[in-house]
């Protein structure tokens, strides 16, 4: 199959880009695909710790670009998931260590060996962002249902459009269904309505995400709300039509009733 290069981006920091990259990448590998995760956040690398691979880094993205090693030497193989590789970012350099054309060159090289390349984009819209989107075919835009994060996502969508990346999908992270029912949080349809790009997944706010990050084991596919939500996103990325999770489970009858009263 043709390799697909997906950039995971958001504009705002701390909305779950790295968690989404790790889970989507791991999920695709579990589905039998050959996946390469690339951390493009030079100077503030984190994908390695989320994946639990931080102790095995020898070379990194900047070493590859500077010619200190071959591309293959910088790839860390995930022992738990065959077919999953990580190219870590450098911790000591800054974003200017790499240019968009160098990123494209690295990606072109990797394309031959992988089914999916997932790029974890840094926060912001400066050079790090430009590097991350340079070689991408499609984008996952991550947002939480908050004003600041939605505003930044809107700006990112505009920049992606300008860069010619037409295929964009929205991941709404950290939804709290109880708050949506109370009318104190925007629902997924509110967010989709405002941003106007197709929805690919809704990830509920789930404590298990913190636990999985602590352990360095992505929770995709596990039997918890976020694990199931990520598993569904992985299916949808591959073009499968999967129904959305029933997030109502656990919402009390009274909450449902009172939200009905408020709506009318």
């Amino acid at each position: 199959m043709e390799c697909e290069v997906i950039v995971v981006t958001s504009g705002k920091g701390g909305v779950g880009k790295t968690t989404t990259s790790a889970n989507v990448g791991t999920g695709l590998a579990k589905a039998g695909k050959k996946v390469c995760l690339i951390d493009t956040d030079i100077g503030l690398r984190n994908l390695d710790v989320v994946m639990g691979l931080e102790n095995r880094i020898v070379y990194n993205l900047v070493d590859v670009v500077e010619g200190n090693c071959r591309v293959k030497q910088a790839l860390i193989r995930d022992k738990k998931n065959p077919g999953l590789y990580l190219m870590p970012s450098a911790q000591t350099k800054d974003k200017s260590a790499v240019t968009p054309s160098q990123m494209i060159k690295v990606i072109e090289h990797l394309k031959e060996q992988f089914d999916y390349i997932i790029l974890d984009c840094p926060a912001g819209i400066e050079q790090g962002f430009q590097n991350a989107i340079a070689g991408a075919d499609r984008a996952l835009v991550v947002t939480t249902p908050e004003v600041s994060s939605i505003r930044d996502a809107d700006r990112i969508i505009g920049l992606l459009e300008a860069a010619g990346i037409a295929k964009m999908d929205l991941v709404i992270n950290r939804i709290r269904i109880e708050m949506v029912h109370r009318g104190d949080m925007m629902s997924s349809s509110d967010v989709v309505d405002i941003l106007g790009i197709p929805l690919i997944g809704i990830v509920p706010d789930d404590e298990n995400v913190v636990v999985s990050t602590n352990q360095g084991v992505p929770l995709v596919g596990e039997n918890c709300p976020a694990g199931l939500a990520y598993a569904n996103i992985v299916e949808r990325i591959q073009g499968k039509d999967v129904p959305y999770l029933n997030l109502q489970k656990g919402v009390s009858f009274f909450t449902k009733l009172s939200s009905l009263i408020k709506k009318s």
Partner: protein
Amino acid sequence: MRLFFRKKNSCQVAKDRLKILLISDRVNCSPEMMELIKTDIAKVISKYMQIDEEKMEIQINTRKENTGRNSKPVLYANIPIVDLQKK
């Protein structure tokens, strides 16, 4: 009981604020440029009638029926006329 009679929930407030915010973000029109547009419009209209430049207001908005990315911005101008006859 007050909970039930709240005027507007915070979700609605957020949506309303975002809609207006994103319109101006997307248009990317600086306040200086808006001011220039405003004085130019005032100049042209003043050729034909007497207007109240102090109370005149212009803003970029969208038509109500459109939301999301496909909404087209509109330039809205409210120009009070003092006298339809030119002085």
